[in-house]
Amino acid sequence: MNCEEMLALISGHMDGEISQEEQLRLREHLAECVSCNQLLKELQTNDALLAEMEEELPIGLCDAIMARIRNERSRTKRNFRIWSSLTASAAAVALLLGAGTLLLPKGSSDGSVIGIAEPQEAESVVYCAEKSLSDTISFDCAAEEAVIEEAAMEDAVEEAAPAEAPMEQKLKENAYQEPQMLADRLGGVVVYFNEAVEKLQIYALQMTEDGVQYYLLNDAAEAEELCQAYGGVLFWPEETTSQGAYALVHGG
């Protein structure tokens, strides 16, 4: 029995996760081995030290969280009112980015609505003049999310865009941290775009467990093609663990 095996056995024993047979083996060994007994004691002490630190919760943590959520909610409601007054007329595809800039990919295909309905916005409804049905479309203006929906508004783009320019600048400064982190997290190459790329809509949209949304590409070659074709930036993971490839849009 070597040291590493003993460590695993002792550790497992401390957590109550070793078999009867292993317990027996351990007990036999501990009966004769002084250093392993010492090891067990030391590890138990360290565990106790680690577990004992019961710090107080900061006062108002829950309130701070709820305040942020309510603030976010009212922000998106405000933006939605602006949005619905602009969408009064027709139907096209718009991509809402980061600081609220509206961008239109050129030429929308069919008349279908590609909407990511956010449960938090369930009560928001937009009536599109060209459709007889009312669709539940909702969106969120926050820096981290992009929603794709149908509206036709060349004019709205011009109206909305200039007001948001300074914000976008600030966002760009910190922009490169996110794609690098994503590449490290996913273990695959990430092609990063500053603005929406219509072509990406054919790929599956995913979300990481901490809220970052990205597209799943087929392979690294595809990432490179998209990068060249649409002016993106490639980010490679520090340790290449898989051949996965992904696309990330700023603010998306």
Binding site: C62, A64, E144
Partner: protein
């Protein structure tokens, strides 16, 4: 007592107050996890907020497959790990871990004399957190989930998406690593205090 699934569905249909219930249920665990990961109560408060905010935003992606606490834990550990990696990249070369430790220790020693007990426990807290900060993020995470949050190997496996065997060996290795860091630090401290004693003797 409202069923948790119902609460989640309420939040999904737009009831923000329902989310407050989830916050109060899990805020202690989330905060402690962030605290142990970073060693800083300020960072922990920010990260805990961040985790809950992202949970609220991304709730529609919670598919009711795993338990909500597993999903939340996973989200929280990822928020913490991202933060630590970002910090690593931003650390300036001049400030090494040892310098930081020395500085903190000097601070500790220069304060008003405290009752013996308080000194010991403050020091111990400081020692263990310093040692934890030297562990890599993955080792830190898994140790906290097992020893502090008291989760089973299986639960940890679900959160980190590892099989139980891997969880077992990683925990063992993390414990081993922590032990060697603590004894290394202990030796350093002993060396420093003996040097200090020598200097003090020298002035007479």
């Amino acid at each position: 007592m409202t069923n948790e699934k119902d609460t989640i569905r309420q939040v999904l249909s737009g009831d923000d107050d329902a989310f407050a219930q989830l916050v109060t249920t899990y805020e202690k665990q989330v905060y402690h996890l962030c605290l142990k990961m970073t060693g800083s109560s300020e960072d922990a408060a920010d990260l805990a907020q961040e985790a809950f905010f992202k949970a609220w935003k991304g709730l529609r992606f919670y598919k009711f497959e795993s338990s909500f606490s597993t999903w939340l834990y996973r989200l929280t550990t990822n928020v913490c790990i991202d933060h630590l990696r970002k910090q690593k990249r931003q650390t300036t070369v001049s400030m090494t871990m040892d310098d930081e430790e020395d500085r903190q220790e000097i601070e500790l020693m220069d304060r008003e004399p405290l009752p013996e007990e308080q000194i010991l426990s403050k020091e111990r807290k400081h020692q263990i957190q310093t040692a934890m900060n030297k562990l890599d993020e993955d080792a830190r995470t898994i140790l906290i989930l097992r020893v502090v949050e008291d989760l089973s190997y299986e639960q940890i496996g679900q959160i980190l998406e590892l099989n139980v065997g891997t969880v077992k060996s990683r925990i063992a290795r993390a414990r081993g690593k922590l032990k060697s860091i603590l004894s290394e630090d202990g030796n350093k401290r002993a060396l420093r205090s003996s040097k200090k004693a020598e200097r003090e003797e020298g002035t007479y």
